[in-house]
């Protein structure tokens, strides 16, 4: 095995403007926000984003004007309301939207992970989701039963960025025994072309190999792994820390206007030198450690 441990700079350097990126996480769990701030700081733009239930990550990129197209099942801020910047950009016509229902997006990710061009669903007959997207959703008759089915196109992207719990230098990423559902990161990893994972902590390979059943992203599939503690902030990592409610409320408040959102990004993404500097701006480790929850895992 060879080390795949990189700095965030080196791991994300291949991502150019115009790329398509699958972004992991669901709702306020594990969006790869440190990586997203890096993309904003480095002025990576014109992105096509594929997501599951996207919140902070897509809204930050929308605030930066970096999103050209979005394909996903949800973009909002969960219990903090609609996604203010994403919403504004879509309403301005600046982001092309392709909505997918959950079975459709799952089928798309599974198709990519199975090397197939499409997989069928029975959900979207008569829905505008299908009627307005004839390129990616097409009807056919099942050759076995004759039933009508809808084929949905595989969810392929140039890059996939996930934020995980812990990993080793070879890119093997594990979840804790006590966790929320993965939702979609394992599927996205399997569907990825070039996969970059940030994790809360790097642990020795020996700690990983004792519990191989906990590895949900095998290092085989990983191009680069980066240690970024609190890498999902201001969102949460289940089993590690909660969402930062005060920060999210301030973010929503700032995002009521373009100017406010821009000032927020200047401070937290563009002027922050790196992730350590971001943590310093939040008040340092002492401030974020208040978000930490009781841990119950097998790596300690």
């Amino acid at each position: 095995m060879k080390s795949k441990l990189f700095s965030l700079d080196d791991a994300l350097a291949p991502i150019r403007s115009g790329s398509s990126i699958s972004l992991g996480g669901s709702l306020l769990r594990r969006p790869p926000n440190a990586a997203v701030r890096w993309l904003i700081k480095n002025n990576v733009r014109d992105l096509t984003l594929l997501t599951w239930a996207a919140t902070t990550a897509i809204d930050l990129l929308a605030a930066a004007g970096a999103v050209k197209r979005y394909e996903g099942i949800y973009a909002g801020l969960f219990n903090f309301g609609l996604a203010p910047n994403f919403r504004r950009r879509v309403q301005e016509g600046a982001i092309e939207v392709r909505d997918f229902s959950e079975t459709a997006m799952v089928a798309r990710l599974r198709a990519a992970s199975q090397g197939l061009p499409s997989l069928p669903i029975k959900t979207l007959f008569g829905s505008d989701i299908a009627l307005k997207n004839p390129e990616q959703i097409k009807e056919y008759a099942c050759p076995i039963s004759g039933e009508q089915l809808l084929a949905v196109a595989a969810a392929r992207s140039d890059f996939t960025i996930l934020h995980g719990y812990v990993g080793d230098e070879f890119g093997n990423v594990q979840w804790p025994l006590v966790r929320d559902s993965d939702d979609v990161d394992q599927m996205m990893a399997a569907a990825s072309s070039r996969l970059i994972v940030t994790v809360e902590k790097i642990v020795p390979h020996e700690v990983i190999s004792r519990r191989p059943a906990l590895t949900y992203i095998p290092g085989q599939m990983v191009e680069a792994i980066v240690e970024i503690p609190y890498g999902a902030h201001p969102a949460a990592v289940d089993g590690f820390y909660d969402e930062d409610q005060a920060h999210l409320e301030a973010y929503v408040e700032a995002s009521q206007t373009d100017q406010g959102a821009s000032a927020y990004l200047d401070r937290y993404a563009r002027q922050a030198l790196d992730h350590s500097d971001y943590l310093r701006l939040l008040g340092g480790l002492a401030a974020v450690e208040k978000l930490t929850v009781e841990r119950e895992d097998t790596w300690q």
């Binding site: 309403q91 959950e102 505008d128 307005k132 089993g239």
Partner: protein
């Protein structure tokens, strides 16, 4: 009969009565404020009430948790409360729930949206033009699946002319008919919205063409008030029932056992 009940208690009792023994009911986790009460609070309280009364075998799929322990509820739902919630199962990925939906494993779901029309077509995606909408909403989640595959989806929405419209701007979830074609003609099987529980009345689709019908008015609400709150006229029965009030047993369970701190039925 106990006339001293809140509107949310009335809705909770109505939800409970739709749930049958051995039903599996899907409930979401998101949103806040009134939307939380409608989409999460009342459904969970109603499900629990049904379990305690006539449906001991009914269970829930709440967010990512199958058969969650509904015996208590924290005041603020943060990630860690979800992470540590007790449940029969927490499937490894969301594909598991999607597969359960697609193989028609759910009996009941709870759905809301920005717009609904007389055939129960629901819009949670965009108001106005899809490519450049007046209001961009959250997308679609699994609501198309609920209307496509769940046996008895329950719509939870406050009545409002801007929400109950003649024609929704975007059909996220297909109801009983659209553009003159029935859901069967569109390729969908059994299902579609079963009942619409609102703050003023209960509506259903028990009409020959499966369009919306007034089932009952909540006590003290007039027909005019309901019609004024709707952008289309539902079928009105000859005799208009009054939504039955919660029983004192129901109220006692809601207040003392299910939601003593008014976390679920907050706003």
């Amino acid at each position: 009969m106990n006339a001293h009940h809140t509107p949310n208690e009335l809705l909770t009792s109505q939800v409970a009565r739709v749930i049958l023994d051995d039903d599996l009911a899907f409930v979401g986790v998101g949103t806040n404020g009134r939307a939380f009460t409608l989409a999460v609070g009342i459904p969970l309280a109603g499900l629990r009430l049904a379990q305690m009364l006539h449906a001991p075998g009914a269970s829930g799929y709440w967010g990512n948790l199958l058969e969650p322990d509904l015996s208590s509820f924290p005041e603020h739902l943060k990630q860690d409360s979800l992470t540590r919630w007790k449940a029969a199962a927490s499937p490894v990925d969301v594909g598991y729930k999607c597969d359960m939906l697609a193989r028609r494993g759910f009996d009941v779901s709870f759905d809301s949206g920005a717009q609904i029309d007389r055939y129960g077509n629901l819009n949670i995606t965009a108001i106005g033009d899809y490519a450049r909408p007046k209001v961009r909403l959250v997308g679609c989640l699994a609501q198309p699946e609920h209307f496509a595959f769940v046996r008895r989806p329950i719509v939870m929405m406050d009545l409002d002319r801007r929400s109950f419209v003649e024609k929704v701007d975007f059909v996220t979830s297909v109801g009983h008919a659209r553009d003159g074609r029935t859901r069967q003609e569109w390729g969908l099987g059994e299902g579609g919205p079963h009942v619409v529980i609102t703050n003023k009345a209960i509506l259903d689709f028990d009409t020959p063409d499966r369009s919306m019908r007034l089932r009952s008015l909540h006590d003290g609400v007039s027909l005019e008030e309901v019609l004024d709150s709707m952008g289309f006229r539902p079928t009105i029965p000859d005799y208009i029932a009054i939504t039955p009030a919660p029983t004192s047993r129901e109220l006692q369970l809601i207040r003392q056992e299910i939601d003593p701190d008014r976390v679920l039925l907050k706003v």
